[in-house]
Chain length 367, copies 2
């Protein structure tokens, strides 16, 4: 293998994946899941207008590398300019570019222990040093995060609001107030993937061009287009323009861009979906209660359920659910790993979950 | 901007783009192009089965991060195993991952002066030192490339076969023979994006798992799915598995994966498209001859036309074509920049080109 000379950094990286996909699990199970409730997808799907826009796209043409019309529409939606917006291949892709721009070997980055693993994957991938702070009362905690950032001179500090996997959230006003303690030299990476399903006032209440922050949004959650891979970042134009130095300029799927634009324009469909998600949240919570478990309050398109014991027990419940054809996931880290996380589903998805849960709990208790 | 602390490398990078998209040009022109013949897209589009597969996809689900069924189908198509195949967001995306895996600051990389600029963009983006060798008789020249690679101890050497922008090619047997002079420690990055339109025997005649080579293919050209962003690499499993350390695991558009699989399965449609492309090549060549210009032989889905003078003249011809609503591009570097490059088009596209060319030439001669 003398021709395969990876960089020392690439050589050192593990061949791990942040998440094992449900298709991989189905292949090892030998049969499909009855309900797909593990990836916080939106089973209600995108606006019919978005589906039509994607179908009508001329697939033979490369997408516009500037995502111009989508950025124009997003700028109008958010009351800003296209220069404040970068569109990319999902938030995952944009987080990769951001980390690449900021983090070299040994650079410090701060996140919460148990927060989004794909961010951590990118930090490791560029040789950064990741510092983790604990959740506070099942919340990612700005004060703890920013104090650690000051201590280690972090270039980036990651915060998801609402949080995944716990579904907890801060108000945008509280978060804005907490920003007073963000240290000089640290950029807040604010992941607002789930903000569309959150109570009004959850989005950060600060100007979009505040140079201390980049905030990310997505069409994968409330807009129901996870398969399309469309995310965007909003921030100061000096920061946004840096993405153009490293991004895959022709990386955006043309149909996906058209679909996102159509989805954004159909806010009445979004409202309907948000109602379905809220209804589904209530159903999941009720199923949990019916089984003697404790649903946590959620601002996201999932409900995290406290199984009432330790991580081993919750893992056993999860495994028993998976064995019964219900794809779900759970937090990675104690004490949050006392929970399982159920994405909102259709009534029939949730009926399958409700049917499987008692047996799964019984088996987990015996195990 | 004290919160925006880019890495020294990111700071040093220019905010250039490898290509300006036709949409950008249309916006600055204030009107659309009459014919889109500049990006080597395939105007004949994908198989109807691929279009249907994309339309039928559940967009709400993330794509399979392993692209398992597509990799299985590609493995069967190429007579290899899925472990020899990496699927990614176009060859552009995969080139980015490859360069990231191999190239750190100061590492040497070799390419031809005037070859694919997006590869160069990635090398610069990771701090590599790019060494360029001239074309030989309008061909990327393996002997020259490999000699330079030996001289500078290159980690990567890039070669497109067929070549873009000249349309020239080597036989797979000649290339295999030339491999004897590939130095130890250098990986050949063989871009076979245009091999599907090339004469039989153009694909490299060496085992797919030869550890000295990675070869790239795409659904953007002959398969007519540039907007979908599906490329793949083939190589030794030890090399292929390295991609999993750095790639955006959930980066693939789900519909695009389904579309690529359907397109691959419809080889009879591909054959029909290849006939249309061949016919279009002949038409472009004839239009060139009718205008006193010299079409170069082409193995790709475009024809490069020698305008018979220097780069300034060819640029004037190109500008005049663009002004007349014909989107075309041209080589960047002398002496190849004596040419303009015309992608295959529909009969009406080429009629528009034929109508515009005499006036464009006349204006360029006057200019």
């Amino acid at each position: 293998m003398t021709h395969i000379r990876l960089t020392p950094l690439a050589q050192s990286l593990p061949a791990t994946v942040p998440f094992v996909g449900p298709e991989t699990q189905e292949r090892s199970r030998g049969r499909p899941f009855a309900a797909r409730l593990g990836a916080n997808e939106n089973v209600f799907g995108p606006s019919p207008r978005a589906i039509a826009a994607m179908a009508e796209t001329g697939h033979w043409m490369y997408g516009d590398p500037e995502s111009h019309t989508l950025r124009m529409a997003l700028a109008a939606h958010h009351g800003t300019t296209p220069d404040h917006i970068i569109v990319g291949e999902g938030i995952d892709g944009l987080l990769g570019y951001l980390v690449r721009l900021f983090v070299g070997p040994g650079d410090a980055v701060v996140t919460s222990d148990g927060a989004y693993p794909t961010f951590n994957y990118h930090v490791a991938g560029y040789g950064g040093t990741l510092h983790k702070v604990p959740y506070v009362d099942d919340h990612e905690d700005p004060a703890t995060l920013f104090a650690k950032a000051a201590e280690v001179d972090a270039k980036l500090v990651y915060l998801a609001n609402p949080d995944n996997p716990m579904g907890s959230w801060h108000t945008g006003a509280d978060l804005a107030a907490a920003m007073a303690s963000l240290p000089e030299g640290t950029l807040l990476v604010l992941d607002e993937a789930y903000v569309d399903t959150a109570p009004d006032g959850t989005a950060l209440r600060l100007p979009l061009d505040d140079p201390r922050i980049i905030r990310f949004r997505t069409f994968s959650k409330a807009y129901g287009m996870a398969g399309a891979r469309v995310g965007y970042g909003m921030g100061h134009p000096d920061l946004i323009s840096a993405f153009h130095k490293v991004r895959n300029h022709f990386g955006m799927n043309r149909a996906a861009q058209a679909g996102a634009e159509a989805a954004l324009a159909d806010q009445s469909y979004l409202s309907q979906v948000l109602e379905k998600i809220a209804h589904s949240q209530n159903q999941i919570a009720q199923i949990a209660i019916d089984n003697g478990l404790s649903p946590l309050p959620s601002a996201a398109n999932f409900v995290t359920i406290d199984c009432g014991a330790d991580g081993a027990f919750a893992k056993a419940v999860l495994d028993e659910l998976v064995a019964r054809g219900i794809f779900v996931r759970m937090p990675f880290v104690a004490p949050q790993n006392r929970c399982i996380r159920i994405s909102c589903g259709t009534p029939s998805d949730l009926a399958a979950f409700a049917a499987a849960l008692p047996g799964a709990l019984e088996a987990a208790k015996k195990g």
